[in-house]
Symmetry: C2
Subunit: 63 residues, 2 copies
């Protein structure tokens, strides 16, 4: 499987937003994250980096 954990960068620390994420897509001015279990989270953020071999996606809150 090829899912990843999505973290948001806050005050220099990575906080887990959602594990096992499959899809991240724009939803208006927000991002919708969907994982392989169908769980969804929507937040005002941008994707800043990916490391797929480490299964990691880093987000930052929109200014």
């Amino acid at each position: 499987m090829c899912e990843a954990a999505a973290y948001i960068l806050k005050n220099g620390r990575e906080e887990l937003v959602l594990a096992d994420v499959d899809v991240i897509e724009p939803d208006g001015d927000s991002l919708r994250l969907v994982n392989i279990f169908g769980e969804q989270k929507t937040l005002k953020a941008n994707i800043i980096s990916l490391n797929l071999l480490n299964h990691k996606v880093i987000l930052v809150e929109k200014p």
Copy 2:
């Protein structure tokens, strides 16, 4: 393996930027893409969506 193909959205069409991408990270105001063969591309773009089960990352050029 968990690499993905990175496409840039131009005039409503997806153009392949780099295949087998492992890492996408900020490089100044650009994005650096690195694939599993060590090939790199740097471009002024943002990541707008991911679909990891389909191994696809969509970028858009920065305005």
